[in-house]
């Protein structure tokens, strides 16, 4: 349960004869409870990878499956956290979080218990009856994460979830996500263009080439994290100072720089 599999996936936008090839032969296997980040130059198709797992787009060739089932349409087993939050502004925080549970036809007592737990998990208890526009960007993204977590999804798909936040809020949310991953581990596919974020959060980092996107390299961060015992630090800046972290970051940087360098401007 909770694995993600890309098998020979191509994506072409537009008519297949004259369209633009966005993704070229993507093969990637994400194990249950594994956190994989995809980084790549802008326009490389990393978000498209996530959108296909979500079921918003279909692959032009190849198969994507989640827990062994082929993905054909969106569904609550694959919860998405969007860069622009995508909350419903006319619903309160509680109603936003509750909608997915109502769609599952859970009785109201059970819904309440789950919503309260999700509010508590994301430190949103005091904002349960607020409307999204009354909250800061960071708080809104907490609501979006709570809305995803409450579904108890098999996989969590995060599309540059902290890209719209300011630098300080971003750090807080990154630390929060690490805390969540420890309390409640999930299979996560995380899209970002921020290299530090990927190294800090992920078990493995997949680096993509420029368009048409291919997977160039997959780095095993988890073995280094465990060997160097990164988890003894609470704060992201302490981890980011470690030589092992810097080494990984520089490696990914250079790899991405090559992609940008070969891009015609």
């Amino acid at each position: 349960m909770g694995s993600i599999l890309f098998q020979n996936v191509d994506k072409v936008f537009g008519p297949s004869s004259s369209g633009v090839k966005a993704l070229d032969n993507i093969n990637l296997e994400i194990a249950e409870k594994e956190f994989v980040a995809i980084v790549g130059p802008s326009g490389c198709g990393k978000t498209t990878c996530l959108r296909m797992v979500a079921g918003f787009e279909a692959p032009s060739a190849g198969v994507i499956s989640v827990s062994g089932k082929r993905v054909t349409e969106p569904g609550p087993d694959r919860a998405v956290v969007f860069q622009q939050f995508a909350l419903f502004p006319w619903k309160t925080v509680r109603e936003n979080i509750e909608l997915g549970l109502r769609n599952k036809n859970l009785p109201s007592g059970e819904r309440n218990t789950l919503v309260e737990a999700a509010l508590k998990l994301m430190n949103l208890e005091t904002h349960a009856n607020a409307f999204p526009h009354q909250l800061s960007g960071g708080m809104q993204q907490r609501v979006a994460i709570a809305r995803a977590y409450v579904l108890d999804p098999e996989v969590l798909l995060m599309d540059e979830p902290f890209g719209a936040l300011d630098a300080q809020t971003r750090v807080v949310m990154q630390e929060e996500l690490v805390r969540l991953a420890r309390v409640n581990p999930r299979t996560v596919l995380f899209i970002t263009h921020a290299v530090e974020e990927a190294v800090y959060l992920a078990d493995r980092v997949a680096i993509m080439t420029r368009r048409p996107g291919r997977i160039k390299e997959i780095l095993d961060v988890r073995s280094i994290r465990q060997a160097e015992n990164w988890d003894r630090f609470q704060k992201i800046e302490d981890v980011m100072d470690l030589e092992s972290f810097v080494h990984l970051r520089t490696h990914i940087w250079k790899s991405l720089r090559e992609e940008k360098g070969s891009q015609s401007i």
Binding site: P74, G75, P76, Q84, A86, P89, G100, R102, N103, F131
Partner: protein, 258 residues
């Protein structure tokens, strides 16, 4: 409470009334045969308010017109909003219906009046029909545009949450489109009054437009002005009522704009 803007507005109205008094009564530059003086206006008003004119008192005429507008407007939005939602949501429905709209839209709503009277005579049915024709179009078009303008991630979020079709329409599509839906309603309401008065001018047995028509035939400028002011006040009151409903329904959106 009347704010600074309110006082400025009241000042303008007072100045216009003073100018009216000056031109018609004090200097006599405008003759009473062309435009009534305040005194003549008042006489006409008391006449239609008490004894009545054109077969009824002012309240009878005004309430009758108001009733027709309310009915025509209600029919127009009860059909227009669902059709707009459907066209916005379903590409095939849009492809099928939009060409018909492109043909019908350029016909001025008033041009339907002769046909409506031919079909339904001078009674209420014809009026409601023409109001429907005129008020329907802005409701449909703005609702349609409202649905088309919804941010894609919001729809995707709802689909990801497994939202079933009817809940999607009620709780996501309609509220997301509601700012533009209300724009459509305001235009529809305006169109309702315009067409009703025109239809009553052409042929009616009661109503504010009928008062205007009678007063014109009687060469009675005072009563013409009473009819015009009545239509103005009714239009203003219904628009204000709609704005109140809009403020309540879109509280989440108004606050976001601050």
């Amino acid at each position: 409470m009347i704010g600074r803007r309110g006082w400025i507005g009241l000042g303008t109205v007072a100045a216009l009334i003073a100018l009216w008094f000056l031109l018609t009564t004090i200097t006599g530059l405008v003759s009473g045969a062309r435009f009534p003086s305040p005194a003549e206006f008042w006489l006409s008003l008391t006449q239609i308010w008490g004894r009545g004119y054109a077969g009824g008192q002012l309240m009878t005429h005004a309430l009758h017109s108001l009733k027709l507008v309310a009915m025509g407007f209600a029919v127009a939005i009860a059909t227009g909003i669902p059709l707009g939602l459907w066209m916005g949501w379903n590409r095939k429905a849009e492809a099928a219906i939009n060409p018909v709209f492109l043909v019908i839209r350029p016909i001025p709503p008033l041009a339907w009046i002769p046909l409506a009277i031919l079909w339904l005579g001078l009674g209420d049915g014809a009026k409601i029909l023409v109001i429907w024709f005129s008020a329907f179009v802005p409701s449909v078009i703005n609702t349609f545009a409202g649905v088309r303008n919804i941010d894609r991630p919001m729809i995707e979020a709802a689909r990801m949450l497994g939202t079933p079709r009817w809940r999607m329409v009620r709780e996501v599509i309609a509220p997301a489109a509601s700012p533009l839906i209300f724009t459509g309603l305001r235009l529809s309401l305006q169109a309702s009054w315009t067409t009703l008065v025109a239809a009553e001018l052409v042929g009616a047995l009661v109503g504010v437009g009928f008062v205007l028509n009678m007063a014109q035939q009687d060469l009675y400028p005072g009563m013409i002005l009473v009819g015009m002011v009545t239509v103005g006040l009714l239009g203003w009151a219904t628009t204000a009522l709609l704005a109140m409903v809009e403020r309540r329904a879109l509280a989440w959106n108004m606050a976001a704009r601050d």
